[in-house]
């Protein structure tokens, strides 16, 4: 059984094709793993009955020779994707019990390709958080060791998605990234996390946080697996006006591309105060690995980087304050009855939204208010343009940019949750890619002194995910990162 858990998605796919293993066997192994790792609190709604049917169907498809590219592969889904007839809560009390009558485009793509749905994964409430601690289900826990007996954060917002893949309770998973919500937890848990170019994956059917920043992306154990599942997730969707009109691409080829001669940019501004020495050491290592692989290292400047975080914390809450207005207790979700309509709104939303969500709604409402709009929202949009231009200029000289994913490794649960500003600083390296709409990937590249995973981030020009896979693959090869969390379901490598 444990051998099944050791397989990457690509390996499992090959074994399934050769009929060495069956989808049902693979599912059983993951069902076991889910039980073993229950304490990590990754799954908020397991869907094993559905999974069984899907695995049986996948085996039939393999027998008939028409299995899709993900047939039989067990996949977990962040509870932000609407899944037909399966409770979808965004890990918020306000959506408790909500059963969508529709399936998000991205998950539809996955199931049409034969993917097997293990269940819905824990995340921060409405994807607002960097530690998965704002979830009404409690935090997803990092499967790597505890520090001083305290559980570590899986990161967030897609904490359950990262932790499940790292713990071996999902072969792959889906997350969303608005300011780093895929890349940061991927780095904290030691897995590969891809945030695609804005517009690459349809947002239709994903509970919206900040519409101009949200993107769906995969968590995998390897870069190769990331390309495999991303090829299926991506694609034009006429139901999403911001979705790019690009045809199907198989990104698996790009993984193996030689990176010789590629120019790798190292942005000076990412040397921020408070960055752990082991993080900057890892960054240097990454630089050296890529040089060895034949890439050229170029020092670059992204002068407006320091404004990215404040800019993000205006734009994202502003959009969120409007996006979350629909949770009003009228048509679905929680309602607290009251005498008047306004009283009902107040009671419902005060009870249904957690503290962090309320904080962001308030910040966003303020930023859009008459008299403040120009000073906050409009200014933030101008800064956003400058940040985008920084990257456009930089990409004249380089092909890919290399940075650390996070300024620190995973922190203990409870350490930062009471201090929003420190918490927001987690996103300092990841937020610029969302503001500029760029693709980014976090690759596990080493361990901290305390034995916690650290990630390196690669950024590329829009729609150059292929290039990210090539360079990420080179890092992965040289880093020889061992995915071996103390609390995994079994040996994963």
């Amino acid at each position: 059984m444990s051998d099944l858990l050791k397989m990457t998605a690509t390996e499992a796919r090959n074994s399934l094709l050769k009929k060495e293993i069956s989808s049902v066997e693979l599912l059983n192994a993951y069902q076991n793993a889910m039980e073993k790792t229950e304490a990590l609190n990754n799954y908020v709604t397991p869907t094993l009955d559905a999974a069984k049917q899907m695995a049986v169907n996948a085996d039939k498809a393999y027998a008939q020779g028409n299995a899709g590219p993900l047939a039989g592969l067990p996949i977990g889904v962040k509870d932000l994707f609407c899944t037909k007839d399966i409770e979808t809560t965004a890990c918020s009390a306000i959506l408790k019990g909500f059963l969508p009558s529709y399936e998000s485009t991205v998950t539809s793509n996955i199931w049409h390709s034969g993917g097997v749905m293990l269940g819905k994964l824990n995340c921060d409430e409405f994807a607002m958080g960097s530690s998965n601690e704002t979830s009404i289900f409690g935090p997803a826990v990092n499967p790597w060791s505890k520090i001083d007996g305290i559980d570590l954060s899986s990161g967030g917002s897609s904490g359950g998605s990262a932790s499940s893949v790292a713990a071996g309770s999902a072969l792959m998973s889906l997350g969303t990234d608005t300011g780093g919500s895929i890349r940061q937890p991927a780095a904290f848990c030691g897995v590969v996390g891809l945030k695609p170019t804005y517009g690459r994956c349809s947002r239709w059917g994903i509970v919206a946080f900040a519409s101009s920043l949200d993107q769906a992306g995969p968590f995998t154990r390897t870069v190769e697996d990331s390309a495999l599942i991303f090829s299926v997730m991506a694609g034009h969707d006429p139901k999403d006006s911001t979705s790019a009109s690009l045809g199907y691409t198989n990104f698996s080829e790009a993984v193996k591309s030689n990176i010789e001669g590629l120019r790798i940019g190292i942005p000076a501004e990412y040397n921020v105060d408070g960055m752990d020495i082991e993080i900057s050491d890892l960054w240097k290592k990454g630089r050296a690995w890529l040089e060895q692989a034949g890439a050229k290292i170029v020092d670059i400047n992204l002068p407006h980087t320091k404004y990215a975080l404040p800019c993000y914390y205006i734009i994202a809450p502003a959009e969120a304050s409007s996006n979350l207005a629909r949770y009003d207790g009228i048509r679905y979700g929680k309602r607290i009855e009251a005498e008047t309509l306004d009283a009902m709104y107040e009671a419902t939303r005060a009870d249904g939204f957690g503290e962090e969500v309320q904080r962001r709604i308030l910040i966003g409402t303020y930023a859009l208010s008459a008299g403040y709009y120009d000073a906050y929202y409009l200014k933030a949009q101008q800064v956003r343009r400058l940040i985008k231009e920084d990257f456009e200029k930089a990409f004249n000289d380089v092909d890919v940019i290399l940075t650390p994913t996070t300024p620190t490794p995973a922190f203990p649960l409870g350490a930062e949750v009471s201090d929003p500003i420190t918490m927001y600083l987690n996103d300092v390296f990841t937020v610029p890619a969302n503001l500029a709409g760029l693709p980014g990937i976090s690759v596990p590249a080493g361990l901290s002194n305390q034995g916690l995973p650290l990630g390196l981030q690669l950024l590329a020009p829009p729609f150059e995910e292929g290039r990210l896979f090539s360079v990420a693959n080179a890092i992965e090869k040289q880093a020889e990162f061992l995915l071996a969390p103390a609390r995994a379901a079994g040996d994963l490598q």
Binding site: S322, R326, Y332
Partner: protein, 484 residues
């Protein structure tokens, strides 16, 4: 030009501006595929997008964009090739998203102009400030249950055009002429059905008063007026209320008011201090709306003729009076009917027959022009028979009634009933001879100087011909016979 109203302290000038909400004619809603048809049972035309389910996204309906541009062209307005959809944020039970998607800073249509004709025949121009596209909200029903409100989302997301005028109207009459003209243009273009009762067209009216030459006074906005009469009543009421208020030493407060259709009065709905902060910002779910000149040109090429152009032709080419032309152009169907009916024949006679006989008959029967049993070519056929002398005007009325009853052509009826006018000279002469022979005494009297008797002879001949003799010929031939 200004129209003044006198108050106790002197003359006042009225300043009126209007925001008209016109529902766009389209099969589906502005951002979703559900039907935009009026009158379905509650919540039957509601998609996931209209109900603002989590994760749903708007997609612009190209048909609505075309309709807005077409309307802009009809208003002689600047078409903006770049426009932006914004979110107007506020909470209400029938607003599922918690915001209305509208256009704030960058509307699809900019400045334009509408010409209105006043009862004295004067032409007045009213400037258009802008036209933008936006979603309608749903409907709250408060009278279905003692303690609950019901929500019907059928209208939620239906496309509206908000057409904002400049404050360039100065009387209730002008405002009425403006809304009528606007309605007519929209109906000609087919971009709004103009049905005010169903709420497809409704107006918010801004009214202020000032002493001539002074700066603009404080305005009030009276919301949601859905008939021309209500618009006029609301304006009259506001004008007098404001003048009285100021003359009594008070001050007009900038506020939103409601019109009570039962009393004809307006009352405060909410003051400036309760005004919403809508927190407009560009909708991140939608890209800016852009199109090129070719798109506009194509719409321009397919544009129907508008009432102003048609009226020009009717007056200058067909020789109709301004009044008759106004009657014929009020509705596009009428104008088209007339053009077809009068094509190639006497335009004036056709106009008369249409506005007197046909409209009279339709009115009496209580049916619309579209259902008329007499079709345009048939009315033309009747005019032809009159023009070529086949039937007299009097007979023509009889023929028309029969046409209206049976739907048959005029020619068929004339033949079936033997109503063809007798223009055969010998036949008329023989009838005259008979009449004169039977009334020799009167012939003598006539010849003796009693010329009044001429009418008697005409009547007798017409009677003998059962009204079918050509009256002109009867006159002429009778004169010849009698004046020997």
């Amino acid at each position: 030009m200004s129209i003044l109203v006198s108050g106790r302290t002197g003359d006042w000038e009225i300043v009126i501006g209007m925001e008209v909400h016109a529902q766009v004619v389209s099969n589906s809603k502005l951002f979703s595929g559900s039907s935009a048809v009026f009158g379905a049972s509650p919540n039957n035309h509601v998609s996931l997008v209209d109900a603002a389910m989590p994760g749903m996204l708007p997609v612009i309906n190209g048909q609505c964009v075309k309709q807005a541009v077409l309307t802009g062209l009809g208003l002689n307005a600047k078409i903006n090739k770049f426009s932006v959809f914004d979110r107007k944020n506020y909470f209400y039970a029938d607003l599922p998203q918690g915001y209305q998607i509208s256009q704030f800073k960058h509307p699809i249509v900019g400045e334009g102009e509408v010409q209105i004709e006043l009862s004295d025949g004067n032409i007045h121009k009213v400037g258009i400030e802008r036209l933008h596209l936006e979603q309608d909200a749903g409907k709250s029903l408060h009278d279905q249950h003692p303690s609950k409100s019901y929500i019907d989302l059928n209208r939620s997301g239906v496309a509206l055009m908000e057409i904002v005028s400049k404050p360039e109207m100065h009387s209730a009459e002008q405002a009425a002429a403006y809304i009528k003209k606007l309605r007519s243009i929209l109906r000609y273009l087919g971009t709004c059905d103009g049905n005010m009762e169903e709420g497809s067209l409704r107006a918010d009216v801004n009214v202020s008063v000032r002493k001539p030459g002074e700066a603009l006074g404080t305005r009030t906005e009276t919301k949601n007026l859905n008939s021309v009469r209500f618009i006029m009543q609301a304006i009259e009421f506001e004008v007098h209320r404001q003048i009285e208020l100021i003359e009594d030493g008070g001050e007009v407060i900038q506020e939103t008011r409601l019109f009570d259709t039962a009393t004809g009065m307006t009352r405060t709905m909410r003051g400036k201090e309760d005004a919403h902060d809508y927190r407009y910002f560009p909708d991140p779910d939608l890209l800016p709306l852009t199109f090129d000149d070719a798109f506009i040109e194509e719409l321009k090429d397919g544009m129907p003729e508008l009432p102003d152009e048609i009226k020009n032709r009717m007056v200058n080419e067909y020789g109709l009076s301004s009044y008759d032309a106004n009657v014929l152009i009020e509705e596009r169907e009428t104008a088209l009917f007339y053009e077809l009916a009068s094509d190639g024949r006497d335009r004036k006679i056709t106009a008369n027959w249409m506005s007197v006989e046909l409209f009279g008959a339709l009115n009496k029967a209580g049916i619309e022009l579209a259902q008329s049993p007499v079709k345009p070519k048939q009315l033309g056929g009747l005019v032809d028979l009159i023009s070529d002398g086949s039937i007299s005007g009097k007979i023509a009325k009889e023929v028309f009634s029969a046409m209206f009853e049976t739907g048959k052509d005029a020619k068929v009826i004339v033949e079936e009933r033997g109503l063809k006018q007798v223009s055969d000279e010998s036949a008329i002469i023989s009838m005259i001879d008979e009449v004169l022979a039977a009334n020799l005494d009167k012939v003598d009297e006539y010849r003796g100087g009693k010329e009044k008797l001429f009418g008697f002879f005409v009547g007798q001949v017409m009677k003998a011909s059962k009204g079918q003799a050509n009256p002109g010929m009867v006159n002429q031939l009778l004169k010849q016979k009698l004046d020997i």
